[in-house]
């Protein structure tokens, strides 16, 4: 296989899976158990993504400036600081720590 064939075949398969999902009747998720599980899937997905984004490094774990940045964000969310300001504060925390030579 050439690199182009690999890229095109994989891209079409990944796109095809997305489109196939829209052919499945939404009723599948209408039962209380299915609806509850789907809602909880969002929570599970977001929590797992937080972990991957905060300590993930390819296939492995790295503790760096992202972790204190997340702690700052958690504190600000608890204080009901607006979303955008929290995001900026988190980025600034990580950037600041790295400017000081850590993480």
């Amino acid at each position: 296989m050439t690199v182009w064939q690999i890229i095109l075949l994989a891209s079409i398969l990944v796109l095809g899976i997305k489109l196939l999902g829209y052919l499945v009747p939404p009723r599948v998720l209408e039962a209380p158990t299915a609806a509850r599980t789907a809602e909880l899937t969002t929570v599970a997905l977001l929590s797992a993504l937080i972990v991957v984004q905060t300590i993930g490094a390819g296939q492995g774990i790295v503790i760096d400036a992202r972790l204190p940045a997340l702690a700052v964000a958690a504190g600000l969310f608890a204080l009901r600081v607006p979303f955008i300001l929290v995001i900026i504060a988190a980025a600034a925390t990580a950037a600041g720590l790295r400017a000081l030579g850590w993480g």
């Binding site: 064939q5 095109l8 998720l29 599970a44 969310f77 979303f83 980025a91 925390t93």
Partner: protein, 234 residues
């Protein structure tokens, strides 16, 4: 919250998540070129495949195995893309009828557009969340991929400005308002632990997929279903 305030909240969430995630396109473009792809191959992946986990998985295998590892690279990317099919079933009622609209929505169905959409309280704000997040990331991810591929190995800038930390904070902001009962808190803690444990063990993208199963384990038998809030919670 009024309908207008809810739409504004959906826009804010879309912007925060969209801009933070788009920034990663720089590292994808740079890593794709470092893995032996040319600029156009990197851009076609972002334009057509448009699923970060699958894209990183594909170039990761190609970087170590070259074109001879093609079947493994394709299988890895496809496996990681399976979760998008579940997201499609989930957001399908939010998108509504019309094949052209659903075709476009299908292309934009990824972790972030699904997460932002389903985190909103009403159908109207869910639609705003899905389309705004999907469109912002599609444009941003592709522009940043091109930039990263052209700049090559100058990807350290993403970290220098703390943008990698911003993505985690954005996801935290989305999950925060949902943690008012014991059941979602238990799921959040459980999936975070599963993801952390699996990070070193499984290829990129899979820990998130397996951690999502915690929702099935808790949701199907309806564990931790106490209704009151804030008392004795983890």
């Amino acid at each position: 919250m009024s309908a207008e305030a809810e739409r504004r909240a959906a826009w804010r969430a879309s912007l925060a998540v969209g801009l933070a995630v788009s920034a990663y396109g720089v590292s994808f473009g740079a890593l794709a070129v470092a893995s032996g792809l040319d600029i156009w191959q990197a851009c076609v992946l972002s334009l057509v495949m448009f699923s970060g986990g699958s894209q990183f998985a594909l170039i990761g295998v190609l970087a170590s195995g070259g074109a001879a590892a093609g079947p493994a690279a394709i299988a890895g990317a496809t496996l990681l893309g399976l979760r998008n099919g579940l997201y499609a079933i989930r957001v399908s009622p939010i998108i509504g009828p019309g094949w052209a609209k659903r075709l476009l929505a299908g292309h934009l169905t990824i972790d972030e557009s699904t997460a932002v959409a389903t985190a909103q309280p009403t159908l109207a704000s869910q639609r705003v969340g899905f389309w705004a997040t999907g469109a912002i990331i599609y444009v941003g991810w592709n522009l940043m991929t091109l930039l990263g591929a052209v700049l090559g190995d100058l990807l350290s800038d993403v970290r220098q400005f703390g943008l990698d930390a911003a993505a985690g904070a954005a996801f935290l902001g989305l999950v925060w308002p949902r943690l008012r009962a014991l059941q979602p808190i238990a799921v959040a803690v459980g999936s975070a632990v599963v993801a952390a444990v699996l990070l070193p063990a499984l290829p990129q993208g899979l820990p998130v997929l397996v951690a999502a199963l915690v929702a099935v384990v808790v949701g199907v038998p309806n564990l931790f279903a106490r209704r009151d809030t804030g008392e004795g919670t983890a």
